[in-house]
């Protein structure tokens, strides 16, 4: 899922400084699961904003809502009948959701309340980590299910580098060396001969190098 994290409250307060009546909109998708932008975070953020503004003698009216998803027009459409009554929308969706909201409602200022960080997993309650950089050409079948693009700090395709020591990456001793994990996993799978094949230079045109990406499926179009 997409993992995000709330922006510092002072940054948010600064963004909405001139507004007196806003919508705080959460999303029930990924950002709910990673506790960055679901209904609960909408409530906490709205309450915090109200307290801060009351304290500064500049009260603010907030309409709290949490849409099913902000990356789908059908749910964004639900804001249509009340959005005009407000001065701005503070969105707790990921960057995709905020942008889609902006595309749909062109006349209202939009502010992001969270930073969208990565595609990742919930390691444990309260701990998330990155697993995928959406390169558009998955190679996990060749690396024992461990992504070297994401998890090797240098995105090496033929690792490890000389900096791998005691299973940790030279970039940070807290980070596991991805290639060490790949090595161990391939050994367990009895696939060590994989290390005899040299991985070719990757075609990055399926990634960001090819510009903004788009998928079209004729079979699904209406």
């Amino acid at each position: 899922m997409i993992i995000g994290e709330g922006k510092p409250i002072n940054e948010i307060l600064e963004m909405i400084l001139k507004h007196k009546k806003i919508i705080v909109a959460g999303c029930r998708g990924c950002v709910t699961v990673c506790s960055a932008g679901g209904q609960k975070e909408v409530e906490i953020l709205s309450s915090t904003i109200r307290l801060a503004r009351e304290k500064d003698k500049a009260p603010i009216e907030i309409f709290e809502t949490t849409l099913e998803r902000q990356c789908d027009t059908e749910y964004l459409e639900q804001m249509r009948n009340y959005i005009d009554e407000y001065e701005a929308v503070l969105s707790l969706a990921c960057g995709a959701g905020v942008q889609f909201l902006a595309e749909m409602y062109k006349k209202i200022p939009l502010y992001p309340a969270i930073n969208t960080n990565f595609i990742g997993v919930t390691e444990k309650q309260g701990i998330w980590s990155e697993r995928c950089q959406s390169c558009g050409n998955c190679m996990l079948e060749r690396t024992g299910g461990i992504c070297p693009i994401t998890r090797c700090s240098k995105s090496l395709l033929n690792g490890p580098c000389g900096g791998s020591s005691d299973g940790k990456c030279e970039i940070d001793s807290e980070i596991d060396c991805a290639w060490q994990i790949i090595y161990e996993r391939l050994m367990e799978l009895d696939l060590m001969e994989r290390f005899e094949e040299v991985e070719d230079i990757k075609d990055w045109s399926t990634s960001r190098d090819g510009g903004p990406r788009r998928i079209e499926r004729e079979d699904l179009k209406l």
């Binding site: 510092p8 409250i9 002072n10 307060l13 609960k40 409530e43 906490i44 309450s47 915090t48 109200r50 307290l51 801060a52 009351e54 304290k55 003698k57």
Partner: protein
């Protein structure tokens, strides 16, 4: 035990302090409480294992939020005591009342508590 505690304290009973969510704490301040403290069982003695530990983390989070928005973080506190410690309960109530008195009223306007007097909320799982 018929010990007296300050009249400005309003007690909200919860089954376990683990039930105390961040939003409850923020809402008490939004409605005008001058101070809030959570009274849980002794650490290590939670019937639900970690309820009181979670409550402490949430209280700390509210303290952080307060520091960021410029409200005094001393307005919120977590205390632990066992159900039999009535005298300690009174002591905590007095200590918190004194602390809030010194801080003065919260800058948040009083909305739903129907009084302009000092109000401290005690969220309590020890009945």
């Amino acid at each position: 035990m018929r010990a007296q505690y300050p009249a400005s304290i309003r007690i909200i009973k919860v089954p376990c302090t683990g039930k105390v969510d961040l939003i409850y704490l923020l809402k008490t301040f939004e409605t005008g409480a001058d101070g809030v403290y959570v009274v849980g069982c002794e650490e290590g003695n939670c019937h639900f294992v970690a309820g009181n530990l979670r409550a402490r983390k949430r209280v700390n989070r509210v303290k952080e939020i307060f520091k960021q928005i410029g409200l005094e973080s001393e307005r919120i506190e977590m205390f632990n005591l066992s159900a039999g410690e009535g005298t300690k309960f009174v002591k905590i109530a007095e200590e918190m009342t004194e602390r809030i008195k010194n801080l003065g009223p919260s800058p948040i306007s009083k909305k739903n508590i129907g009084s302009d007097n000092q109000e401290t909320v005690s969220i309590n799982s020890n009945s």
